[in-house]
Amino acid sequence: MSTFNWWGDWRPTLTPHTGNLQPTDLIECTRIVGGATVNTAITGAQIIAASGSSATWGGITGTLSAQTDLQSALNGKEPSITAGTTSQYYRGDKTFQTLNKSAVGLGNVDNTSDANKPVSTATSTALGLKQDTLVSGTNIKTVNGSSLLGSGNISVNSGVSLIAKKTMVTQTGSSAIVLIASEDISSYIVSNSMIQVTAMYRKTVGASNYTPRLYVNTSATLVGATLIANFGTIGALNLINDNVANFAIDASGNLYAPSPALVSNTRYLNTLAGSIITIPSPCFLIWAGQLTNSADAVVMLNSNVIKYA
């Protein structure tokens, strides 16, 4: 630090103040050099530089109350926080509050797993209006024992099935019994059922008698066939007859036929004992007839075979 003597030279214009030491302050001091006093001027900047940039802890003397800056700074700090509990959190308003679901705005949360979450009242009400699972025969009816459930079409068993239908079959040219139509009815032979054959014939040529008959056999042939019905005989030209024959099937697969040895006229069955016939397997129903004059002709207008379950 250089020194110089103010006196005899000049002095700067200084304004006294009572605040903290400023770098521009000028301090006059007297020192003794070689037994003689020497006046020296020291700037505030020199003192600050010599003592460091700021005060250090431990270097401050006096009472705490005397440290006004420090006290002011401390006064600006938060007071000590008294610990709460582990179930609390420190809220923005500087208070400890219970840490729960309400604290985070989730008061309705009850920690239920997704799988166990109940549905809303509205959803429950809507579901309550829906049809229960359909259980055939329990809350949904069946049709003749057939379930309505499932895909595809339902086969409604009314108990009556049309097995076969024959139309406009002409027989000519033989005095022997001639096969004019046949139908495999094997799949319709069931226990405890009835088969009904209706048939209408019209004599179209000649006036000889014609006797339509029904047979069953294991194939579509008359050889070895079993006669199960004689229909009404027609003779006169253009005469039309209408015939019905019923056959009962028992639980053992026997077919009960009206007495075929006799001609049963339209809708009448004779009073003689009928035949109990073991149904052939496979079972072919055969329409046949006999023209006494081979030059005549007859037409089977229509014949239906119906099964009653």
Partner: protein, 50 residues
């Protein structure tokens, strides 16, 4: 007189008079119903003494 015959491994017992249907056919009453027998069956000749 023949009173039984076998056809297609089934034995029939004739139970009544035979009805002649035509030159080639018979109606034979049996215990299993009335059977149409024609001249292609062995029993036909026996029944007609042919």
């Amino acid at each position: 007189m023949l009173n039984t015959f076998t056809y297609n491994e089934i034995e029939y017992t004739i139970t009544g008079p035979i009805e002649v249907i035509s030159d080639t056919q018979l109606h034979v009453p049996t215990d299993k119903g009335i059977i149409l027998v024609d001249d292609t069956m062995d029993i036909y000749k026996e029944l007609t003494n042919g």
